[in-house]
């Protein structure tokens, strides 16, 4: 699947063809849902925001000029939407881990996963966003720079600081994990 294929889909969706939208949804929904879930930390809110993001994408599709890749444009729009949502929500606390009635990943180290989630939740906003996008969702620094509107160097330095903070918080877990792997 090439960027040209995606541009073809987008033209068809603009023209009112629904079938390519299904392909677009299949391609982008899971990674976007991951972002929604990690930003809101609540399944129901994440589901709502995923739908809102796709509605917003349809609203703004005519504004996509192909100056950046569609993926970058899409995730920039999704991330901005989530940051605005969090800003609108104001000081209302996150639902938190206790309100995350979700499955464990079979074979995962559950106590470590919970400790990591708690430590990530305690990071300051900038560090947390970069850590989520880079280490948990696999975006590059250049993509993160485009998505968040920052310099790639800023993304790198925030990631390093986030990692150092997490290393402090999770020192005992990291030592145990290293022993397990060794």
């Amino acid at each position: 699947m090439t960027p040209q294929d995606e541009l073809g889909w987008i033209d068809k969706i603009r023209g009112g063809d629904q079938a390519p939208f299904e392909q677009l949804y299949a391609r982008y929904s899971q990674r976007t849902f991951n972002l929604c879930y990690r930003f809101t930390r609540d399944r129901h809110e994440a589901e709502d925001q995923l739908q809102e993001i796709f509605i917003r994408v349809l609203d703004k599709l005519d504004a996509f000029r192909g100056e950046s890749s569609f993926a970058t444009w899409f995730y920039r729009l999704a991330t901005n939407h989530l940051l605005n949502f969090k800003a609108r929500r104001g000081n209302r606390p996150d639902a938190g881990l206790d309100a995350m009635p979700e499955a464990g990943v079979p074979g995962a180290d559950v106590p470590l996963a919970l400790a990591l989630e708690r430590a990530v939740a305690q990071l300051s906003e900038g560090y947390r966003h970069v850590f989520i996008l880079h280490d948990q969702e696999g975006f590059t620094h250049e993509e993160i720079a485009d998505i968040l509107g920052i310099e790639p160097a800023t993304s790198r330095s925030q990631l390093t600081r986030a990692r150092l903070r997490l290393r402090e918080c999770l020192a005992s877990h990291i030592a145990t994990s290293k022993e397990q792997v060794a």
């Binding site: 949804y25 929904s29 899971q30 990690r38 995350m100 995962a108």
Partner: protein
């Protein structure tokens, strides 16, 4: 790698560095190795502890309605467009208490759900025999002591029901909680049987 470090490295190949520059180069390289080690630690951590994100749901009714409104039909379909817009409006105003769209079927998720059910069944089987003995023993104990144990037992039952309801959603925390409640029940049965 920053330009300063590149410049120091180039100079170290062409000429002998001053002790101060050599120290800076060593520190920069050590920091670079340190950063690599840090990145490896985080990769390991994220791999061992993936966040349990559920599968993305299928497009919901509001999104479907918006998509329907995206179509640019010929004049004879204007009625359809009007209906879609009306449906979008109704759905937008519909109370949020409606049941959410069923998530797309995901075999891995289903497997996790079945595993969770199996774990719970195993716990129940493990404690069933002890539970019967504890009930018999409770009837033999002095009333005050039996009442105290019964109150503890009822509390554990309530906690277990709460965890089981949440474990239906294959909740990792609830499953852990369930394991702790079962451990506490075994301790309680031990205490009753040893009385």
């Amino acid at each position: 790698m920053n330009e300063d470090l590149i410049e120091l490295l180039s100079r170290s190949l062409d000429e002998k560095l001053s002790p101060a520059d050599q120290a800076r180069l060593d520190e920069a390289l050590a920091q670079s190795a340190e950063l690599r080690a840090l990145a490896e630690e985080m990769t390991l951590l994220v791999r061992l502890a993936p966040t349990p994100v559920p599968p993305a749901p299928a497009p919901g009714p509001r999104l479907r309605a918006r998509l329907a409104a995206q179509t640019r039909p010929s004049r004879r379909w204007h009625w359809g467009l009007a209906l879609a817009a009306a449906a979008a409006l109704v759905l937008a105003l519909w109370p949020r208490t409606q049941a959410p769209a069923a998530p797309a079927f995901d075999p891995a998720w289903e497997n996790a759900r079945l595993n969770a059910a199996e774990v719970r069944q195993r716990y129940h089987q493990d404690v069933a025999h002890m539970e019967q003995l504890a009930i018999l023993k409770l009837a033999e104990l002095p009333p005050e002591q039996a009442r105290r144990y019964a109150a503890q037992w009822a509390g554990l039952d309530r906690m277990m029901r709460f965890c089981e309801r949440r474990a239906d959603a294959v909740d990792a925390v609830a499953l852990q909680g369930l394991a702790q409640v079962f451990a506490a029940r075994v301790q309680l049965y031990d205490a009753i049987l040893a009385s």
